[in-house]
Symmetry: C2
Subunit: 321 residues, 2 copies
Amino acid sequence: MSEQPFRSEQPFRRMVLIGIGLVGSSIALAARKQGLAAEVVAVARQQATLDEARALNLADEYLSDAAESVKGADLVILCTPVGAFEAVAKAIAPHLEPGAILTDVGSVKGHVHRVVGPLVPKGVHFIPGHPMAGTEHSGPSAGFAELFENRWCILTPTDDQDRDAVERLTWFWKSMGSKVDLMEHEHHDLVVAITSHVPHLVAYNIVGTADDLATVSKSEVIQFSAGGFRDFTRIAASDPVMWRDVFLTNREAVLEMLGRFLEDLSMLQRYVRNGDGPALEALFTRTRAIRRSIIDAGQETAAPDFGRPHGGEPDDQPKSE
Amino acid sequence: MSEQPFRSEQPFRRMVLIGIGLVGSSIALAARKQGLAAEVVAVARQQATLDEARALNLADEYLSDAAESVKGADLVILCTPVGAFEAVAKAIAPHLEPGAILTDVGSVKGHVHRVVGPLVPKGVHFIPGHPMAGTEHSGPSAGFAELFENRWCILTPTDDQDRDAVERLTWFWKSMGSKVDLMEHEHHDLVVAITSHVPHLVAYNIVGTADDLATVSKSEVIQFSAGGFRDFTRIAASDPVMWRDVFLTNREAVLEMLGRFLEDLSMLQRYVRNGDGPALEALFTRTRAIRRSIIDAGQETAAPDFGRPHGGEPDDQPKSE
């Protein structure tokens, strides 16, 4: 894929990461590796999290006071679960400096515009964002500098947003390896409802169902999970608070897409009940083609079984770091 | 896990694999590697499949006539999609030799007992089986010798089945690296309905739903699939005919487990609609623990994101062979 060379920019003076979990710590590592900020500040409410971040040498400064942290910052990124954004925004708003960029990494964007937008002082560039990257692990030690490489980051600036600020934030994400797309926040929330939120909801649900059965024991579910079930357990192992907040703040789009999913599942249930072989085969053939498209788009590995190790005991070491 | 050492056995004289796709070809490779059969025979209806198997040097003999192939065989394994079993069994039954073991690798077992069982001549040991192993790839070239290592193979002999024959087949699977469990076929079909069949149905369904939307384009679904959706596309890329047959032949258990899944999903839908944060967080916390148990049981990699490559373009080479 050929891309336009993008404008080179000066590094940020002071980048503040409010929240230093998987995504915050990965930004810290990637931004430092690429020299995108002279000073990196990690902010967390809990001392244990700050200690963990410090032990990993993720930042130049470690603070528990968000309001204090943003003084002098030209880039502030909200990296907590979305449910905490409003409170954080209230705390930092009076201290944000004119010309600073305020962005976030939350998985929903309409809510962020609604609750954070009105709190942002004039002269601060508010550009909500969403890097579509992650793993099922969480916390400061889960981060790695390559997390954003070849993944999309969606920015949802308002129409009247300063073009230079948007370009500067685009440069920041591209420098960490992301592809960047601009989108209306309403559309973003629909796109992620089907590509991310409903898949998570369904995965959480099936894992819960399997855990609850009386006729099949939990140990059987675990033992025989390689038949397909274990695939679902990965995203159903994602951070519970982060995902709680996603479903609390993207309700309408999730319910809309879940409704579509359920309509289709009713039809599929009927195919099974009626023993409609041709209809089943037609669907299963069509879905196979979509994976091929995702692989061709560079968004998935072509290796069978995600490249999981086969043979002997599965290795216990992360391979991606 | 400590296991009883199992009885050593003589290799089979003539092993016949009727169907030589992913599982058949993997058995051919593993059995030859471990010296489990003096002669390996690959059977397929289509000449192109036989040619592919021959080019891969999977067997000693390549035949299109199943009836002919089983003459002199002491191990016959049905490896076609389950829907073909009845016709194959009718063709081979008159030619099966007394003392031979007839088994299969189908994902459903009640149906196999019902349609194949009555056709098996006296003196032939009929022991249906199900190796819970696979990838989303299919065809003779998808096979590899390590496919069964550390995966469970379930055998569902009838109560009156010859114990020596069951032990001999157990030895065969263990020699290819499998763990072996015996189960009633009714229970097997429930276990796989929740650990394998409903997960596949749900994955096929969500991929179909995403493909059908008017509000989100197919290219957006592909582009932004890394948010969770792409995980589902793997099992939704499995062999369409094999899976059609699974749903046609394990209907009752699938509908039962799908009913449970839908009940739970209605509840979860209500949590989202009502904004019930504590209920969402409680479920998401419980499901996270289940993945840990699967990893601890050696049935899943602990590497984040299944060990998918991060950084740069995803590699295009299978890593498991």
